[in-house]
């Protein structure tokens, strides 16, 4: 149980970073941390105490296997995370070129 709580704390650290930091890059890092905590959570769901890799070979038909589905899902999720982070960073770089700063206090033309 302690592992799940630690994983949730990691998620909250990421959320704290997104909510409280004023720097675009730090916000992106916060999102990345949240994403990793969820990936970790999925891997923990699939883990079976004393399980082996889910490949059926001779002599291992009755062995205890870990659940492979969360691992497959997380592979997909990592790829999606790559795309999101890349796009966020690309937009952050373009914002830096326009405004000359990463501080979100100076980047707030849109209001109301």
């Amino acid at each position: 149980m302690i592992l799940y709580i630690l994983c949730f704390i990691l998620f909250l650290i990421g959320l704290y970073g997104v909510v409280s930091k004023r720097n675009l890059i730090k916000i992106i890092i916060g999102i990345a941390i949240m994403e990793y905590s969820i990936n970790l959570f999925f891997i923990m769901i699939g883990y079976v105490e004393g399980g082996t890799a889910p490949i059926i070979t001779k002599g291992f038909e009755q062995a205890k296997f870990v659940d492979p589905l969360p691992q497959a899902m997380i592979l997909t999720s990592i790829v999606i995370g790559l795309a999101t982070t890349a796009l966020l960073l690309a937009v952050a770089i373009r914002l830096y070129k326009k405004y000359g700063t990463f501080d979100i206090n100076d980047i707030k033309d849109l209001k109301g």
Partner: protein, 513 residues
């Protein structure tokens, strides 16, 4: 017929892939192929609506269920799916036809069409998928391409709006992924029908708390995507900064396919309905309806004003569906529930048409005058007759003036609310409608009537492809009123309502038990 279902994803995804390669070699390849494949999707949707009945499903990979446990990824085509697919393909086709002239002002024109196709592929995938993780994957495809499209102009404001949208959208996606993890942990399956069965048959101690917890997470995640009241702050920025055809797609289609559709689908067909949650959804809908319109009053930016009205109009859809949920959970009259849900879905269809049209109008005005500020415009009705005529139609439709479509759907929702005994909701719905009318009278007055600015003496009507889309959408604004006639309604709306009313039927259709 069943094997045609994956085409809704394959066609746009394949075209996006092809366009990014061949578009570099062949000139204007993207411009020609995108409207053609969108038209084929419209045809395919109508083919399904007219020729198929009930629920069809397709198993990706062809794996049969083992001991009653579905293994393959399911694609489901039922009444609600068809309705949302109709919205996506119809508005998508008209928006892309409009873009043919509109995008000439951008340098990387061909990439616009690639991103657009990816967005369509993502939305179609969300709608036909019967598996929550698959929904998440397609949701991210649609979301990432829409982030890129919001920033397409790479000016200051577009980038800022896109960044805001990406951060909030990213948090929403992660909350949704967390929910999917929790659901998988508890039920050991990802198939919506199977999950619904597992949750119903589960009698362990903490199951009520678990269901409430995932429901709240789902409302937060998809509510952020749908811009329901406490999560609405990104919408006005993103929708007003995007290129106009994309604003029409975002406001008209994306928030419905990505937000409202999934909320409706999951709460009716996956999670056992409860009174508290139905009440929460209805109250959130009412509040976002009121807050959206109040925030819209003070706006002077044409597209920003429209974006705030999107929040408000989505409130009507949620109210319609929410009242239906409340009646079902209380065991009330099913006919009133059907009326209310039907009204909500009807308004969803109508909103996509008139809000799409209004954003295209705003784009047409910006295309000729280079401004969106209402105070700087005026007297354009003589110079741009098609734009002003279609704006008039759309404004009347959104404010609920007969004989346009918005009137009928609003009236149905209000009648259902009164019959169900929620007088206050009906009162607020009428009040918001009146304020909407006032707000659109302001637009008509400042943009199309009044004195013509000397700067705009020489402007002309917009090119053919833009005016064609606007005319067609105005005709649809009138034509959709025909959905009030029972014979027409049985073809388009009734199958969708039936899916939601007989919510247990969904898992029976898929699992076959």
């Amino acid at each position: 017929m069943n094997s045609l279902i994956p085409l809704f994803v394959i066609i746009p995804l394949g075209c996006a892939f092809m366009m990014s390669i061949l578009g570099r070699v062949i000139k204007n390849f993207n411009k020609i192929i995108t409207p053609i494949f969108m038209l084929s999707l419209v045809w395919l949707t109508f083919h399904f609506i007219i020729n198929s009945e009930g629920s069809l499903n397709y198993r990706v990979g062809g794996f049969e269920a083992v001991n009653g446990v579905p293994i393959a990824i399911y694609m489901v085509m039922d009444g609600l799916t068809k309705l949302v697919l109709l919205i996506i393909s119809l508005v998508g086709f008209l928006a892309i036809f409009y873009s043919l002239s509109y995008t000439t002002q951008y340098t990387a024109e061909s990439k616009f069409y690639v991103l657009f196709s990816l967005m369509i592929a993502g939305m179609n995938g969300i709608v036909i998928s019967g598996d929550i993780f698959n929904i998440f994957v397609f949701l991210e495809i649609a979301a990432i391409s829409s982030y890129a499209l919001v920033a397409f102009g790479v000016e200051k404001h577009q980038l800022e709006a896109s960044f805001k949208y990406q951060v909030l959208g990213g948090i929403a996606s992660l909350v949704i992924l967390l929910t999917i993890g929790l659901i998988y942990w508890n039920t050991g399956t990802l198939n919506i029908a199977d999950i619904s069965r597992q949750l119903l048959n589960n009698s362990s101690v903490g199951i009520d708390v678990f269901i409430k917890f995932i429901s709240v997470l789902l409302i937060a995640g998809f509510g952020l995507k749908a811009a329901i009241f406490p999560f609405h702050s990104w919408l006005p920025d993103a929708h007003s900064s995007a290129p106009s055809p994309i604003s029409a797609m975002l406001s008209g289609v994306l928030i419905k396919a990505v937000g409202i559709y999934i909320i409706i689908r999951l709460f009716f067909n996956m999670i056992p309905l409860s009174y508290e949650l139905s009440m929460t959804i209805t109250v959130l809908g009412t509040v976002s309806m009121i807050v959206g319109v109040l925030l819209a009053i003070g706006q002077w930016d044409f597209k920003r004003l429209l974006a705030y009205h999107s929040i408000s109009q989505m409130g009507y859809v949620i109210i319609g569906v929410g009242i239906g949920m409340l009646i079902i959970t209380k065991g009330g009259d099913i006919k009133i529930a059907a009326l209310s849900i039907g009204g909500g879905l009807f308004h969803m269809l109508n909103h996509s048409i008139f809000k799409g049209l209004l954003f295209l109008n705003a784009g047409a005005i910006e295309y000729r005058t280079n401004t969106r500020n209402l105070k700087k415009l005026g007297g354009l009705s003589s110079k741009m007759p098609i734009t002003s005529g279609s704006s008039f139609v759309a404004s009347m439709a959104i404010s609920g003036i007969p004989p346009f479509n918005g009137f009928f759907s609003k009236v149905i929702i209000i009648i259902a609310a009164v019959q169900a005994g929620y007088i206050w909701i009906a009162f607020f719905a009428v009040l918001v409608s009146v304020i909407t009318l006032a707000s659109f009278t302001k637009i008509l007055k400042y943009v199309f009537f009044g004195e013509l600015h000397t700067k705009y003496e020489k402007i002309k009507e917009v090119p053919f492809s833009m005016s064609f889309s606007m005319i067609l959408l105005s005709i649809l604004c009138l034509a959709l009123s025909l959905l009030v006639i029972p014979e027409v309604r049985t073809i388009f709306l009734k199958p969708a309502v039936d899916v939601l009313i007989n919510s247990a039927q969904y898992s029976i259709n898929i699992l076959g038990i």
